[in-house]
Amino acid sequence: MSGTYLGMPAFPAAAKEAVGNETLRANLRHATHTIRDKRAKAVAELDDWMLLREAGKRIKDHTLRHLDRYLVQLEESVTAAGGVVHWAADAAEANRIVAELVKATGESEVVKVKSMATQEIGLNEALEAEGISAYETDLAELIVQLGDDRPSHILVPAIHKNRGEIRDIFRDRMGAWGRAAPEGLSDTPGELAEAARLHLREKFLRAKVGVSGANFMVAETGTLVVFESEGNGRMCLTLPETLISVVGIEKVVPSWRDLEVFLQTLPRSSTAERMNPYTTMWTGTHDTDGPSTFHLVLLDNGRTATLADEVGRQALRCIRCSACLNVCPVYERAGGHAYGSVYPGPIGAILSPQLRGTGSEIDASLPYASSLCGACYEVCPVAIDIPEVLVHLRERVADQGGKGHRLEKAAMKAAGWVFDHPRVLAAGEKAASRTRRLHPSRLPGAGAWTNTRDLPKLPPEPFRDWWKKNRAQDRGKGARPAGSGTQGRDAHGPGVGGPNSDDRKDSGT
């Protein structure tokens, strides 16, 4: 990839391409606006939303603080209920464990419930390399898999495709994977859903091995919980003889009762429903009801490194609702693929660089994929202060250096000196105003960063001069303006915390 000068153009470059795609932008705008209005209505039905949000945040924080204890308790509970617990330090180990478990059954295909964790570790590809076919059964995942595409949204992985595009994929590709799409398939959502039902049914009915993730695991009881809509989850969780669940270690909650909070906040935040159509809760194995063998693979894969960061660890509270994606102005325009991760949007911008580290170009660029407007924080049902973590990660990326960041740091240092020396600043501003016609619209020398940004136009005269001329005579010499001033240029004064200050209102709507 070209233009890597500052170590952060990966997202800008990908986003620039996406922004130029009119269909993609229209699909995203339509979908995100629909869901955000519905969410606001669903949330408004509960007077105690802010209390539920705070409780959810605290349950997660408490669990993370004592994560070792709750994981050990979970292991005991699941084992006592007839399950087998495995621990995977990274993606490679998790994939190896799952592949061996599938091989031990003698089967060469598995049906899958949509799961972020298995996408994160690239399980389908790893299984394929071992000669095992993994069939995605969520409608959107099916669209992505048949289209040889990548997911672009946590909840609705094919959000970037409209109905016409989906019809084409079904018509052209279903036959190669199993039952072909019906003749003359139209693009009405009802017909498309029916085509998926027929195509997948034969896979469900013969499946011997199911693979899932989980939304929650209860330490006290050993219960796993999967929220879904279509019934493909129920199919995968109850019809096969063997069930393998791959779950991030941060998904544990201490008690059964804790679920009452998330059962209220997750569906309203994600699909904007009072409740999603189906939720399955199982505890180990249940005699003749459901799989007779259950394996739980507990996945670290960067989570403990995230936990070690005192600001960044709050990202582990995430319950993957995707409300932050739907309100994000950057996501709405750039789409999910630009984030270069299975976790797109604001949460992805803080999760991916922490799970994977900030060594790569894309991960170092993600903390900058935001305008810090704070909408993500407002809708987050577990109150993750995403802007706070973004700023924190920017600092980390800057500290780790690289050519561009040395430049940035040098510039900041120089700026700091100038702001500390008012006379130098005044002289500089005057000189800049006088020469403004000569300024280029783009800053040379800083490579990719400046290529995607126009320099702001300088005003004809410095604010200090304007102030002296227009206002200063009205007041005592040296008096600070009351209020913030109509010019809005008092950016160096106190109290301008930007979106990262602590006084944001948690309207929840």
Binding site: N27, A193, R197, L205, I249, M275, T280
Partner: protein
Amino acid sequence: MNTGSGSRERILARIRTAVADAPDAPEVVRDYLDTHTPEDRVVELLAENLADYRAIVHRAGTEELPGLIGRLLAERGARTVLVPPLLPPSWLSATPAEITRVEDDVDATARELDAVDSVVTGCALAVAETGTLVLDAAPDQGRRRITLVPDHHICVVRTADQVVGSVPQAMPRLDPTRPLTWISGPSATSDIELDRVEGVHGPRTLEVILLAE
């Protein structure tokens, strides 16, 4: 038998190091509401919310129940109906003889279940605020698969003692050692342009009978 025990110790050690200096997390406060719904409104609200998510809601007294079930099966054109092990016998007492009852056989394959038209069950409880039925695989409901594979599910809710207002009221009444299925309307998807479309893999028709005894 656990595998990857080296990783187990490694992960636990990493966690302990990661949080060693972390301050203790503030206590969990449960000052959210136990319910949002007055007691005398719960059955009405349940009916509204079920219907809002396209479940078909019926009401019956004990006397009318068998007739209603028989009529719904006949109108559906069902030729076969799955029966959980201990469904109250009276419930199917007025079902037309030509509709064959199918017991849930442990050895029945998913494909055999797929050939059955309808299923009739009770439930563990229903949650009014969310329009949810919770099944816990008790003998009047049967194994999870029998309410999943057939395309038509009739579920009977006893309004006198099975309807709670809210999720927090439901939790203490449920037993997590049982397999639980929370059902809110028929199977649906929002995966195409975020429009809710009913009818994917689960039963595409969900009929709920509110039984006032």
